[in-house]
C-alpha cells in the first residue's frame, strides 16, 4: 500500500491540550510549537500526517465530508451534529457530563418549562424521551446567565468541575449523560486508507489505555 497523507481534524480550545498530550503518548512526533502556533494547517515532517485546527463544533463536519480523514471530537458535539462518521475510540480525555441546572428551589411560572441551551437537539431528545413538553431557547455561550436573568427556568449544558455553576449560584437538577472525547473516522477514508487508519486507531487505543490507568 502506498502511504497517502492522513488528515486529522483537531478541536481548538478546551480539548486541544488534552488531545495533543494523547497524540504524543500515541507516538505522534508533534513539534514543540504545536500548542502555541496560530497556523490552521500543520504538516508533520517525519510522518505523512497533516493536522487541521478547527472550531470544535466543526470537526465532525470536516470529517463527514472527507476534508479530514480522522478527527477528535467531544461526544456532546457528536450527538448534537448527528454526522455520519465512525465513532471508533473513547479517548477518555476531557471528561465532563451534560446536566440540567438552574437556581436552587426555583418554581417555574411558565406553562411549559423554558430551557436555554447550546445543545437544542440533545435537550429536545432528553425531554421527548421523558414525555415532557418544554420550550427550548438556543443560546451560543454563557448559558448560566439565562436562569439568573429570568430568560429560562433551567439550562442544559456541559459541566466539568461544577465551578462555573457554583460561582453563579446554580445547582444541578439532573444528569443526562457522560461526555468524553472520541476518535472519529470518515467512512470512505476508512475504506481507502484502511491499513494506515487501523494503525492509528490501534496506537490511540493503546495510548488511551495508558491515560486510563494513569488517571485512576
Amino acid at each position: 500500500m502506498n502511504q497517502s497523507v492522513i488528515t486529522i481534524a483537531m478541536p481548538k480550545g478546551r480539548i486541544f491540550g488534552d488531545a495533543c498530550k494523547l497524540l504524543r503518548n500515541a507516538g505522534f512526533r508533534l513539534p514543540d510549537t504545536f500548542e502555541t502556533t496560530r497556523k490552521l494547517i500543520l504538516d508533520l515532517e517525519s510522518e505523512p500526517f497533516r493536522f487541521i485546527l478547527a472550531k470544535p463544533v466543526d470537526v465532525p463536519t470536516y470529517v463527514e465530508y472527507g476534508a479530514a480523514d480522522l478527527g477528535i471530537s467531544g461526544k456532546d458535539v457528536l450527538l448534537e451534529s448527528g454526522r455520519d462518521v465512525y465513532e471508533m475510540v473513547d479517548l477518555g480525555i476531557s471528561k465532563c457530563h451534560m446536566a440540567v441546572a438552574g437556581l436552587p428551589g426555583h418554581q417555574s411560572r411558565n406553562p411549559f418549562l423554558k430551557i436555554a441551551t447550546k445543545y437544542p437537539k440533545i435537550a429536545s431528545d432528553f425531554y421527548r424521551r421523558r414525555g415532557e413538553q418544554v420550550d427550548l431557547i438556543a443560546l451560543n455561550g454563557s448559558i448560566e446567565l439565562a436562569p439568573i436573568v429570568g430568560l429560562a427556568d433551567a439550562i442544559v449544558d456541559i459541566v466539568s468541575s461544577g465551578q462555573t455553576l457554583k460561582e453563579n449560584g446554580l445547582v444541578e437538577y439532573d444528569r443526562l449523560l457522560d461526555i468524553s472525547s472520541r476518535l472519529i473516522v470518515n467512512p470512505v477514508s476508512y475504506r481507502l486508507k484502511k491499513t494506515q487508519i487501523d494503525q492509528i486507531v490501534e496506537k490511540m487505543i493503546r495510548a488511551t489505555e495508558g491515560t486510563k490507568i494513569g488517571m485512576d
Binding site: 476534508a67 465513532e87 471508533m88 470518515n186 467512512p187 490501534e202
Partner: protein, 398 residues
Amino acid sequence: MSQPYMFEKPLGLRDTLPRAQQEISRLELIFQRELQRWGYDFIKTPALEYAETIGRASAIADNRLFKFLDAEGHPVVLRPDMTTPIARIAASSLRNAPLPLRLSYTADLYRSQRKEGGHPSEFEQTGAELIGDATPYADVEVISLMMSLLEKSGLASVRLAVGHVGFVNAFFYDLVKDKEIVKQLRNLLYNKNDVGFHEYVASLNLPIDAAKRLNAFVDSRRMNNEETLAYIETLVSGSATPVHSYYRNILELIHLLKLDHLESQIDLDITLVPHLSYYTGFVFQGFGGNLGFPVASGGRYDDLLAKFNRPCPATGFGIRLDRLMSAIKIPDDKRSKRKSAVIYNRENAGIAMRFAAEEREKGHAVVLQHADGIDNPDTFEQQFESVNYFLDRTETGE
C-alpha cells in the same frame, strides 16, 4: 416562508447545466452499454407512487419522503428508491416471466434531505436487480457488475466493502436471544457508533463469553480479509445452525470473488449495516476517487417481494450519478466532445448548410450559425475548437 426570488427552486433541488449534463450523459451511456452486455433489460416506472404501497415498502424514513395527495385524495410519494417499484413489477406485471429476471434502470429518486450542500433531494441513480436467484452466484454477479460499471466510469481506486446482514442478525440473536436488543445493536452498527456499542454491551449484563464475542465482533472491522474469515470461523463455533449456513455463504462468496479477481479490491467487513432495512443477506458499498461518501450500494433483499404477494429472493445495487460525478476527476480536454462552428451569411447559406450536414454525417458536432444572429463574435467563437467561415459577398449562383 417569504416570497421566493424568481431564480429560486424548492429546497434541495438543483439545475444541471450543460457541462454537468454532458458528464452525466457520458456515464449513462457507458452504464447502458455495459448493462446491456450483461443481459439486463431497462425498465421505467412512474415518479409518483402510492404512499401505502411503495412509500411504506421502501423503508425510507417517513420524514424523508415527499408526500402529498393526488387529485382523488390518495396519499402519494415521489419514488424514494427504485428497488421497491421493480419488486412491485416483478411481483405483478412480470409475474409470469421466467426467473431469474435481470432488470436495470436509470431514474431520478427523491428524498427530502438535510438543508445542507452536497445532499440534494433529487438525484439520479443507475442500478440493476437480479430477481429469483437465491444462490451466492447471484450476489457475485451483481457485485462484479457494479465493480465493472464503476471501473468503466473512470473512477479511480475503486473499493468495495462487503458485509452480511443476515449473519449479523443470526449471530446477535444467538447470543442475546432478544429481538429488541438485536435491533438496538444493529442500529449502533448502522450509526457507526463503536463506543456506544461497547457501552451498550456492558449495560446488558450478558454472560462474560457473550459480551466478549460481541465486543470482538465490532473490533473485527480492523482486520484484513483473511483475519476476518478466520475470526468469523471462531465466532460461529458453537452457534446455532443459521449462523453456520450464513458463514458458509460468506466463504463461498469470497471464493467466487477470488475467481473473479476482485478479491484485492474488496474489504470484508461483517460489521457493515446499511440504512435500508429490507436487506436480508449480503450488503455492500462502493467507494472511490476522493469523495467522502459512498458512490454505490446494494445487497440482497429476499423478503421485499413478499410484501407484493410474491415471495422471491432478489439482489441488486444502485450507483448515485451525482456522487460518482464529483468523485471522478476528468481532464478538461476529455471532458466534452469538441464542437466546431460554421458561420455564414445569406449569400452562402446553401453551401454552409451542405458543409454542416456533411460534417455531422461524419460524426462531428457542428453549430450552424448565421453571422447576423451573433451577439458578440469574439466571445461566441471562443467556445469552439474551430470555426469555418462562409462569408464571401460574391453570389454563388444559388
